[in-house]
Structure formats: C-alpha cells, structure tokens
Amino acid sequence: MKPAGVIIPAVLIVAIGGGIGLADLALRKDKVKLDRPEPPPLDLVLPPVKPTPAGEATNPQPASTQASPDVDVKTEATSDPAAAAAPIAESARTPPAAPTATPPAALPKGHITVPQAAALYDQQAFFVDSRRKDVYVAGHVAGAFRADMVSFKAGDPMWVRGLPKEMILVVYCDGGDCDESEHVAQLLNASGFNAVYVMHDGFPGWKDAGHPVETGEGQE
C-alpha cells in the first residue's frame, strides 16, 4: 500500500468523525457550559478556639478517632467568619510561620491561616488532604484523611458518611494557586458540614511552620 493509501483513509476518518462531531455539537452545544460552576462562598461558622502557644500543635488523638460523637467541637455560632477568625490569630500569639505565610486579612472567605488551622488541629478538627495520592503518601498533616474531587464522584467517601455533621473540617492542598481544597470544601459543605475551612497556605505552609506531618498511605 502506498503512503497515499494510508493517508487518504486517515483523512476520510477524520472528516467523517469531525462531521458527525460538528453535527452533535449543533444538537447539544446548549447543554454544555464551558465554565465549571464556581463553588459559592463558604458560609462558615468559625468556632472560638483555645489559645495555642506557637508551634505546639499536638492533636493528641489520631484523626481516625476524631469522628467519635463525644468529641466536643464547641461550635458557637458567629455570623462573621472573618471577625471570628481574627481572635484566633491574636490569641494564638503565633508569629508568621514562614516568610510566605498569608496574613489573615488577605484571605478569601472561608480560608484560614496556618496558625488558625493549628489551633483547630489541637481542638481535634478533622484534616482533609485534597492532593494527589502520591503527594499525600510523600507527606501530609499527621492524621489527615485524603479525599480529592474524584473521591466524591460516586457519592461521599465512606469516612465522610461516618463523620458527625458538626465536626470541624480543615481542607488543604498545596496552597498558592491550588484550588482543589476549595472544591473539596464545597463538596463537604454540600454534604452537610457547616464548619469547613480551607487552610490557605496548604501543606507547604503547615510543614514550614513545623507542625506535625507524617508519610505513608494513611487513610482515604
């Protein structure tokens, strides 16, 4: 077979497939929205937290036991998450954990700083790692479970279903431009959890601040 005997059929296949595709596009294009729906602003209730000395996040109980219903999460309602978040930064008396740490005032709604996340960690908050599995295995917040958007495709992951809805959840990814944590937080919000926060500076900020980390498969 000459080269033309391969190329001409290939061109015909592309033409036929492309033609059918364009016809399909004409029929169904109204059903396709190009922009993935942005998660609505997280309407969060930030509970008051106990003062925590700098760099002494302990979270003595492993995350796997945090779903216990007798854990007192003390969810006192406040209508302004930003206002509620501010005392945490003051009471924690924690200097900026790293030169790149984001100041609380610059955070989007629903996001918290690493010191705030550390304070919640000490209150047995449930940490959720929304990064890829290989990155999670290489290092994650000690006791954190892993769940990315894919984990929610077949419904809530099993461990999510077992958590009390009043549980405080802190979701993180890699900080910076990473928006996976925002999406996972939104999915958790949709699952009925009200106290879901995004640790703005992600795992790099947590690790740089010297808070507990662990490696390995963990739980998901």
């Binding site: 391969v6 492309g18 396709v32 993935r36």
Partner: protein
C-alpha cells in the same frame, strides 16, 4: 487463489503476514480502548462540578488544561475528538482502513502526549479525562503513568501502521 499473485517465496501477496496476526490483539485492545474512551466522553455518567464524563465533563477537562483556547475551539474539540476516536477505534477492530485508522489514533496520541507533558511541566493538578470518569490504568490526576500509558498505545499504533497485510479484516482496504 484467484485474484492474487504469488511471491517468490510462494505466499499470496494478499495473505496476512505474521505481523498481521500479531497485530490482531493489538488492534482489538487499542481499538477497544479508544472506543471505550470515546463512549465515556460522549455519554454523561455523573453530574456536578466533579464529573469528567460526557461532553460537559470533557469540556471542563479541556478548560482545566488552561490552553487559552477560544470557546469555539473548546466546543469543537469536545464533540469532534470522541467521534473521531470512536470511528477510528471501530475501524481498527473491524479491519476497515486499518492502517489509516492506526495513523489517526497515532496522531491523536501524539497530541495527547504533548498536552499531558505540558500539564506536567506547568504543574497543574487536573484530571486526565482520558476515559471520562473512568481511570482503568492510572490515577485520575495527570501524571507520568498517563504518559507511559499513551506511549505504549502509540507503539501499538505504529506497529499496526507499519504492518501491510493484516489478518481478520472485513476488507483488504
């Protein structure tokens, strides 16, 4: 055998070569994978912002690659790519324009590999969307596994393209 002539070794010039038989499983696997991938891109299996299946999910996957494509290009790719995949995959399985179908699939794989490399280079944490919501061989997020998977399929496509006399074909075209 009428209508064919014999070579100096005594084989019919139209009879399948050894490679033609070797390529049969390659054609079935590669064609099947492309048809399966296309099906998942054309038929929605999930809803909501997490889905990668159906035209909606595939369009979001293309957008997530941040290629700065105009909307018309995203929409056109969303609908034409799976149809080209499904037709080329079916022809590969049936043995109609076998080498042409392998050339189309090889060309698509070269484009996919280039896109995946660009995603890895830019450090984007996005779904591959290669098989819609399914991820039979690799984690859903783009990684080196996807590149290796596609390079393997590209090698199969090249082998099929390089084979002149295929076995078990609907036509000798």
């Amino acid at each position: 055998m009428s209508g064919t002539h014999r070579t100096r070794k005594g084989h019919d010039s139209q009879s399948p070569s050894v490679m033609g038989w070797v390529c049969v499983p390659l054609r079935l696997i590669l064609g099947g994978l492309f048809a399966f991938a296309a099906f998942n891109k054309l038929i929605a299996k999930g809803e909501g912002p997490a889905t990668s299946s159906g035209p909606q999910g595939f369009a979001w996957t293309i957008k997530a690659f941040k290629l700065d494509l105009p909307d018309w290009a995203v929409l056109t790719s969303t609908f034409t790519t799976p149809w080209i995949e499904i037709i080329a995959g079916a022809m590969l399985i049936l043995g109609i324009w076998t080498r042409g179908a392998a050339l189309v699939i090889g060309g698509l794989l070269v484009v996919f590999i280039a896109l995946l490399l660009s995603v890895l280079y830019r450090g984007l944490n996005v779904d591959c969307g290669c098989f819609g919501d399914m991820s039979p061989f690799c984690p859903a997020k783009v990684g080196w596994c996807n590149i290796i998977q596609n390079v393997g399929m590209l090698a199969a496509a090249i082998a099929i393209m390089a084979t002149r006399r295929h076995a078990l074909t609907v036509c000798k075209c």
